[in-house]
Symmetry: C2
């Protein structure tokens, strides 16, 4: 997917609210900067729960809301458990009141927002922290290998498990399961879990506290077997690329940090508990000849 296709797909979804399309395209057009990434209708985690944001700029953590942000009730939040959710704790969305403003008022408010976004981008540039949006790089393992590391704040997600593995120095060619042993880091699994309840697992993920719980839900016996296997397993460290569905409906594997098993919190009832110990991970060159590995 190139920027042309990306922009079209993001813009085509801006029809939930009156004026949403007009306001969104006007902001994007006036920014007029293909280095700035935007996402429409992005699920975000806020202090008080989940919400759906009209327009989100991940590089500067900036949210634009056309009137009131839609806060999800429990039933809705449950439905989006496999979705790619951004943390937006502590961010106050910028609001555009399209109901009471006339067209000139809407335009004035958009000008303010555009100017503020440009200011935030400039500030990052001044601090040497700006990374221009490169849609090809986002999903390219080679780019991240060149960077030398992947951080949570890079908001990296890959379309394919093989691409995440490549970043870790593993070029495999074969059937894929939920994880692969790291070729360079001892006792470490590259892990691709579903961090939400699914057919087999009652998993959960707290992005703020950095805690993952995994619990087999098929039967008591299987749950206990899984817990005991994990306790005995010397592989106690996991690099997590969680399986998510992005806002365009594509499946992706999003880097969530490095986790270590919490032996104190883990037990047969609760399942296996993992604590985030790092929000970044090294990347490694991979061998050009794929290894035939069953992972």
């Amino acid at each position: 997917m190139d920027k042309k296709e990306y922009i079209k797909r993001q813009i085509s979804r801006t029809n939930r609210k009156d004026y949403e399309n007009y306001v969104t395209t006007r902001i994007i057009n006036f920014l007029n900067d293909l280095d700035i990434k935007f996402i429409t209708q992005q699920y975000i985690k806020r202090k008080e729960g989940y919400a759906l944001a009209d327009l989100y700029f991940p590089q500067i953590n900036y949210i634009v809301e056309i009137d009131e942000m839609h806060h999800l009730d429990n039933a809705e939040a449950d439905k989006i458990r496999d979705c790619d959710i951004e943390d937006a704790i502590g961010i106050t969305p910028e609001r555009i009141d399209v109901a009471t403003n006339d067209i000139e008022g809407i335009h004035k408010r958009i000008d303010e927002i555009v100017s503020e976004i440009k200011g935030l981008v400039q500030k990052q540039k001044d601090n040497g922290k700006w990374t221009p949006w490169r849609i090809e790089d986002e999903i390219s393992p080679d780019f991240w290998i060149q960077q030398g590391k992947i951080s949570i704040e890079d908001k990296v997600s890959f379309y394919k498990i093989v691409d995440a593995c490549k970043c870790m120095g593993l070029n495999y060619d074969g059937y894929q399961r939920a994880g692969a042993n790291h070729p360079y880091e001892a006792n470490t699994l590259i892990w691709f879990p579903k961090l939400y309840e699914n057919e087999e697992w009652d998993n959960s993920y707290d992005s703020i506290k950095g805690i993952i719980c995994t619990k087999n839900k098929k039967s008591d016996a299987e749950r206990i077997e899984h817990v005991q296997k994990c306790i005995e397993d010397p592989v106690k460290r996991r690099i997590v690329f969680a399986r998510v569905e992005d806002n365009l409906g594509d499946t992706k594997y999003r880097f969530r940090g490095v986790f270590e098993m919490d032996l104190n919190a883990t037990n047969n009832d609760k399942g296996v508990v993992w604590n985030r110990v790092a929000d970044w991970v090294n990347t490694y060159e991979y061998n050009n000849k794929p290894v035939e590995t069953v992972i």
Copy 2:
């Protein structure tokens, strides 16, 4: 309807083609001039037939096409016979190739088009011919009374028959039919015909030649009766506000000029033929107290 509502409704229809919405909003946003009217998906009459234009600027007679203009076949053209159709004879649409251009190429082409539109508007301003878009004025009889006249090139259409009548100095309050006698101009009817085939009439209108044909199609007797009545009627002059459906689906009465009956061309077989004799008409102050008139 104000500009805010108008813009929303026009923009909401730009979803027929890929990138149509993005290109349209980008042009409108970069023009950034609420004095410039735009219409999306406007039916236009071209030399070679009818076509549907993606984006039309009536003040400067400028058409933007996203890739190839959609030329209507006969069946389609038949379906739109009651629609508000713009003449665009001799205008070459400006095209944007969104298929082969990348996003930068699309942006460059949009910049060219925006710059050209701004140039055409400036040229009209320099020639003293520019009329800023005033959405309230367009449908307000008082504005046109103040102007002193209505021309075809003003592209005037009213939502209500009473408003067209007010422009002619007639403030009536009552049941409306297809026409009203002009209160100030002798032997003249203010006429609101359907200029297309309908249940009762086989009417037609040639906007280029300026010819209207009206023929009752219910029976031979009624057709002949109508022709004879018109021939005998001293009212041989008609100010035409044709009933049309605009591109937002609203019924309007569009000024089409002043017509006189063509006694040579009129006969019992062909029906009544009217020739355009003027493309403008005077407007008159109306009495604030409505007249109870059956027209």
